[in-house]
């Protein structure tokens, strides 16, 4: 698929003039710092430490792709010393790490210090240099935001998205519920609807928001299916893994986080919830829940900005 640059607004992250990808403005991006153990070695020990990292800390390679392992510095006598980033300090305590390093490097004295290291990548070359100088040397492989937008755009189908948004918008328009919010869960691999629910809040249960109803519905259907087919294989318990979720109104903190726990892939909503919403950069308490726990899981979000769908306003105080 070729990307027509007219279809993407790189400044506001908008696809086809109608779908805004919700992500922090570049000017707002700050380093997410994590404390790392850093040890200083002689350059001659570098092959030993590389071997040791491969043996004991191989698991860190995923989270440190954007980092250089080594940081060159000069000691008082102008000898080159290498600082080596090992792993987050929360992974291992100091004494244990000292033991491992002593053994691996075959020396008695280990210098070990804690250093803050960015866990995210900056967006431009200048910022990359600034963070590299200030915190730790970072690899620069072009603007990751442009790459991310392109990846996202390739997987985004305007027709499919509009088809489902029209469907929920239709139900919402005809709804007689107190809170006319409609949500639909779709498995994008098969393009099948897994659940459509309206907001069911009532005096007996004020927490039956439409997203919670969908998650509950999908779980109950699967439980029933497993009972019928006597399927006792332990398959993936994340039933909504990488699902697309379409909803008429920006969700509250509870529902946005429920989507994160369910490991969905994408959320697309129509109407903003300025006071109670938990997704938009300027909504509610500015949480942007979909990217708030990035060490564990994140999902993509889009807001429909076009005029083709009718919108039903809801009291701003209502949690959606």
């Amino acid at each position: 698929m070729t990307i027509k640059s007219a279809d993407i607004d790189y400044d506001k992250y908008i696809f086809y003039n109608e779908f805004q990808r919700i992500q922090p403005s570049q000017s707002m991006v700050r380093p997410d710092l994590e404390m790392y153990w850093v040890t200083s070695i002689e350059p001659s020990q570098s092959s030993l430490i590389i071997k040791l990292i491969k043996q004991k800390f191989q698991y860190t390679t995923g989270q440190t792709k954007h980092l250089k392992r080594f940081k060159k510095k000069l000691d008082v006598e102008k000898h080159v010393i290498l600082d080596v980033a090992i792993c987050p300090t929360s992974d291992i305590d100091e004494d244990k790490l000292r033991e491992i390093l002593k053994e691996g490097l075959n020396v008695q004295n280990i210098s070990l210090l804690k250093t803050e290291i960015p866990t995210n990548k900056p967006f431009d070359r200048e910022l990359n240099m600034e963070w590299s100088k200030r915190y730790w040397p970072l690899v620069w492989k072009g603007n990751p935001m442009v790459q991310e937008l392109h990846e996202s755009f390739k997987l985004f189908s305007r027709d499919t998205t509009m088809k489902y948004l029209e469907e929920i918008s239709d139900i919402s328009e005809k709804s007689t519920k107190d809170v006319p919010v409609v949500t639909m869960f779709v498995d994008p691999r098969t393009d099948t609807v897994k659940s459509i629910q309206e907001d069911e809040r009532c005096d007996e249960d004020p927490m039956k928001h439409s997203i919670m109803c969908c998650i509950d519905d999908i779980a109950k259907k699967e439980l029933k299916r497993r009972q019928l087919v006597k399927d006792d294989k332990e398959i993936n318990s994340y039933l909504c893994l990488n699902y697309d979720v379409y909803t008429t109104h920006e969700p509250c903190t509870m529902c946005a986080m429920a989507l994160l726990h369910s490991r969905i892939g994408r959320l697309i909503y129509i109407e903003e919830s300025p006071v109670t919403g938990a997704i938009g950069e300027k909504s509610g308490c500015r949480y942007m829940i979909h990217i708030s726990c990035t060490l564990n899981w994140k999902y993509e979000c889009f807001r429909y900005m076009g005029n083709a769908l009718p919108k039903r306003r809801i009291d701003p105080l209502v949690q959606i």
């Binding site: 929360s90 305590d93 994160l260 006071v275 105080l317």
Partner: protein, 240 residues
Amino acid sequence: MAHNDQLKVHYKWMREALNVAESALDVREVPVGCVYVYQGKVIGRGFNRTNITLNGTRHSEFEGYDEIREKYKNFREILKETDLYVTVEPCIMCASLLRQLEIRRVFFGCANIRFGGNGSVLQVHKDLSPNAHDFNVKMERTYPSYPGILCQEAIILLRKFYLLENEKSPSTIVKKQRHLEMESFPKLDYDKYLNRDEFTDMFGKKYGYIYDGNDFIEFSDQGDIVNLQQDTGRKRQRIN
């Protein structure tokens, strides 16, 4: 109530929450448990049931809430005067649930570093939207949240669970070096969750040094704090 008597009450209910959490181990669920306490009585309890239900949102707080709303017609009024004791800090989702239910206070054991919504990741219990003013609306009231009640016990339960699951797992590589770690615990940074005044108002002025040193609150079996001031700065093995 004097601080001491209050503390005994919190200790007692957190023990109860730990008991509930422990029963999750029998059904291979992550051992997080809670009790909701109204006028000196447990009105709802629950443990995490995300595996049994295939529903990643069935945390202990939701289980307890469902029990309460099924039992009491006026549960909304009751919850406003109810305290929650939960072994692990409520996640962001549950923190928002509790806010929407207008819970009175929350007491928790250990921090939820990855998902915590009472200070570890976000402060859902006390944030107010800066947009509320523009729309001329008032948000639900905030609630105070007190960390560290039987913190280590809560962590030990979680460690037990992961040990049990590992033993059942066919992979032998991870099994080496596995034992129940009882000595080292990640420290709790109190200032993420509450300020010093909130801490001393709850636990007593003389225990301010626990807050300052990020020490664990240590209880006797009767529920009295037994930390000694000279404990501060004592070398403790800690992750982090």
